[in-house]
């Protein structure tokens, strides 16, 4: 059942009641471990559980195979139990996947979209998916689950060999016949929950049969359209959980900071539009204002050289520059390795660096000071940067609108930490984990969780920042080389562009195996290649195949082309093509990521996959043109 946000508290009370009334009172929490929202959401949840006296076990997981493995002991559970999935589970029929009985309640808080339409079943009280009303894909947009109709559609596909409706084939693929087997090959991730008990068709007249066929066709189209256009990200799970904390009167600066970090991550990775970000940001700003400590505000006097250390953590709204890790870098390095600036000015080349230095000169920031650590700079240069950048950025092909945003910062003692800095620090710590090693990923996840507690773990934050800086430098340098060496395939008018890291010198860089780093790369490559073609319509979706890990697995990620404004979902068009390409080549993904547009396949299959993908996408384009012409 998809539960709207207004019933969040009821779901939580149900979890508490189940836990207190069961012999096994522990709540099993499985959290995705590849993004900052998961880290923040798990911290919010555990903090809440601690305050409310609920017992829990938290296990970070990276794929559905691990979810199944950890849920395996529950398949024979007799007592009532709750399994809480954070940022995983919404896109799949988890109950069938994990073979869980009905006495195990599954609660899913997941920002991945589309939500499997089988969850939209108001009769199913055992599987609850929390989707807020202001989500880009609210409950009303999800087709209501109709088991009988869906089974009929599936059966008609199985039996019809001369179907003239290619959408039905797509429906079979999208509706769960994705048979991504694992090593045993037995795992069926079929989303159908069973077949009709009565296998024989009823005897009906031709009119009734035609009506039934029309109903099946409409159903197939409805579901097909839903799965085609709804691949992306919904509301951050941390925002939902913060709402819950607020309703239970447990919210404080820590919970607000967690929500801020999760929201900022979605903006930085272009998973939401700026308008959507501002909408949610304003709600958080209201909470920030409520929790602001008036005693702490008097510590800093205007124009004074002396600032007193803050003994309590203070979170406040501010307008921040979208320059990567500016507070921890030099002005020049921060500009050079900010993806937007690097893509526009091509700072991996000497000419780009010259342009950058020209910008600094125009802003009257001496190059000597621009290459000095920002924290050691006099305040006058900070003011210079903020006042002159809006004026001279457009002259250097940089839009001021993309260089600043309304954000938040955290202040503790003499440290000031921006929300985007925290996002990068957490991502730096998360990407330290080896993608194929669960132990390593759990350790990285725990480090990232510890970093949120800045009162005692500022050193962990600083370590994360250093790792993030290395990541940003590697991305700009290596991707710049790939562009210069012509490794990015797909020309000016291609449907999309792609790159295989294994074909470049970057294959030895261990970072380029992690899905998050690859996504960051994809965004940079998308923008950088479009800038090279310098036309208004040069931006294309990007597919990046990462370097193989020790097990010979490569991760493929994809990003959308254009930014969709408003509160609509940033749809990723590659979810369906990936599935169809894998089906056509009989490629079995060895690891099922929680995101539809991320795939893990053997390195031997990557070249064939990328080749076939072009044909599939071309077919989609032809079908779209046909539909448009019709």
């Amino acid at each position: 059942m998809i539960v709207p946000g207004v019933h969040l508290k009821k779901v939580y009370q149900a979890i508490k009641t189940d836990s207190n009334g069961s012999e096994d009172q522990s709540v099993l929490c499985l959290s995705a471990c590849v993004d900052a929202d998961s880290v923040c959401a798990s911290q919010l949840l555990l903090n809440l559980f601690n305050r409310e006296g609920l017992h829990f076990s938290l296990i970070p997981v990276a794929c559905y195979e691990e979810v199944r493995e950890h849920c395996a002991p529950l398949s024979n559970a007799q007592e009532v139990k709750t399994v809480l999935l954070l940022n995983c589970g919404a896109t799949e029929d988890v109950r069938s996947l994990c073979n869980l009985p009905s006495n195990v309640r599954i609660v899913i808080v997941d920002h991945h979209r589309p939500v499997w339409h089988g969850h939209n079943n108001d009769d199913d009280m055992d599987t609850l998916v929390l989707v807020d009303d202001d989500d880009p894909v609210p409950k009303s947009a999800v087709p209501v689950y109709d088991q009988q109709l869906d089974n009929e559609v599936a059966q008609s596909d199985d039996s019809a060999s001369e179907s003239d409706n290619s959408d039905i084939d797509d429906l079979v693929d999208s509706d769960g016949e994705k048979e991504r087997g694992d090593k045993g090959g037995e795992r069926g991730r079929k989303r159908k929950r069973g077949h009709n008990e009565d296998g024989s068709p009823h005897t009906r007249g031709p009119a009734a049969r035609a009506e039934t066929a029309a109903a099946r066709r409409r159903r197939a189209e409805e579901v097909d359209l839903y799965y085609s256009d709804r691949n992306g990200y919904g509301k951050p799970s941390s925002l939902l959980l913060h709402t819950l904390c607020h309703e239970l009167q447990h919210d404080d600066n820590f919970h607000i900071w967690c929500a801020i970090v999760a929201l900022t991550e979605q903006l930085l990775f272009q998973q939401i539009s700026k308008q959507q970000y501002n909408t949610w940001r304003d709600v958080i700003a209201h909470h920030v204002a409520m929790h602001q400590d008036s005693d702490q505000l008097d510590l800093v006097q205007e124009g004074s050289l002396l600032s007193m250390p803050r003994h309590k953590v203070q979170v406040e709204a501010c307008e921040d520059l979208r320059l990567t890790l500016l507070r921890y870098w030099t002005i020049e390095d921060s500009l050079r390795y900010t993806c937007y600036v690097a893509a526009r000015l091509q700072t991996w080349r000497q000419k780009g660096l010259d342009n950058l230095r020209s910008l600094l000169t125009y802003m009257c920031i001496p190059l000597k000071h621009a290459s000095t650590a920002y924290k050691g700079l006099r305040e006058v240069y900070n003011g210079q940067l903020r006042s002159q950048l809006p004026r001279f950025a457009p002259q250097h092909m940089l839009a001021w609108d993309s260089l600043h945003f309304n954000s938040f910062r955290l202040q503790y003692k003499h440290e000031e930490l921006g929300a985007s800095d925290m996002v990068f620090a957490i991502l730096g710590l998360l990407t330290e984990g080896e993608p194929g090693d669960p132990d390593s990923q759990r350790t990285a996840f725990n480090n990232a969780q510890s970093a949120l507690h800045v009162q005692r773990n500022l050193h962990i934050v600083e370590r994360g920042v250093e790792l993030a800086k290395q990541m940003c430098q590697d991305v700009v340098h290596e991707c710049g080389l790939m562009i210069t060496a012509g490794k990015v395939k797909g020309g000016r008018s291609a449907d999309y562009r792609w790159v295989n890291v294994a074909d470049s010198n970057a294959q030895t860089n261990l970072r380029f195996r992690h899905p998050t780093v690859l996504k960051y790369m994809a965004l940079f490559l998308r923008d950088a290649t479009s800038c090279r073609y310098s036309s208004n319509d040069a931006r294309r979706p990007m597919v990046v195949a990462g370097a193989p890990d020790e097990r010979g697995l490569c991760c493929l990620v994809s990003v959308h082309a254009k930014h969709i404004s408003g509160n609509r979902l940033q749809n990723n068009p590659f979810a369906r093509p990936f599935i169809e390409t894998a089906s056509a080549l009989n490629i079995v993904p060895l690891k099922s990521a929680f995101e539809n547009a991320t795939y893990h396949i053997r390195k031997e299959d990557v070249t064939a996959f990328l080749g076939k993908l072009q044909d599939v996408v071309a077919d989609y384009r032809a079908a779209a043109q046909q539909a448009h012409a019709a």
Binding site: N50, S57, H255
Partner: protein, 213 residues
């Protein structure tokens, strides 16, 4: 010159080589040699002082002490101080470890006892008796403080798995301990797992507003 204080340094290095918790065998021979070294330095110093006094009786007043003699006296004095300091460090460190064993292991293992000298065994027994009196119901708190490795702040504690230990049965149900998982456990049930290194306590604050520093 490099021989000065060498024995004391060896003594401490030997203790350090046994880690942070275990005791090295009490090196009575080396301690005796260090004492004899101190006595030697002391004898040298006294010889110089008596010579100086003898010289001062036979010469005019106001004559200054030779610089070399003054330096030699300082050197002997500093060597005595250094040896004394290192011996005290050695003794103190061994006493700390004995105290730690009383708190964590609650009894002195035979292997460790065999490495102690008689004075140390006496110290351990006296300390154990004093602690027992302090914790006793009749004369003290009436509470066994050694049950917890650290003062418990809550009835439940968040722990992180350090190794895969499988499923454990606890008072409120079952929990699977894997490397990197976070589990909420009752303090008294977490204690044996913490002691044998299966889990470690997670050092998290309860939000920003509740400053635990």
């Amino acid at each position: 010159m490099s021989e000065l204080g060498r024995r004391a340094r060896e003594l401490l290095k030997e203790l350090k080589s046994y880690g942070n918790r275990d005791l090295s065998p009490y090196n009575e021979e080396l301690v005796r040699l260090i004492f004899s070294e101190v006595d030697e330095h002391n004898a040298q110093t006294e010889a110089i002082v008596s010579e100086l006094r003898r010289q001062q009786e036979g010469v005019e007043e106001g004559q200054e002490v030779d610089e070399a003699i003054a330096t030699t006296m300082c050197l002997h004095y500093e060597c005595i101080k250094r040896n004394k300091r290192m011996l005290l460090i050695y003794m103190n460190e061994r006493m700390q470890r004995l105290r730690e064993m009383r708190w964590t292991l609650r009894a002195l293992p035979e292997a460790q006892k065999a490495r102690c000298c008689q004075s140390e065994i006496q110290f351990y027994n006296d300390y154990s008796r004093v602690l027992s009196v302090y914790m006793s119901r009749a004369e003290g708190l009436g509470m066994d403080l050694t049950l917890d490795t650290r003062p418990p702040k809550d009835t439940f504690v968040n722990v992180r798995g350090l190794k895969d230990a499988g499923e454990v049965i606890i008072s409120y149900g079952r929990a699977t301990i894997l490397n990197g998982t976070i589990i909420s456990l009752p303090s008294e049930e977490a204690e044996p797992l913490i002691r044998d290194g299966t889990v470690e306590v997670v050092e998290w604050d309860d939000g920003f507003g509740r400053n635990k520093q």
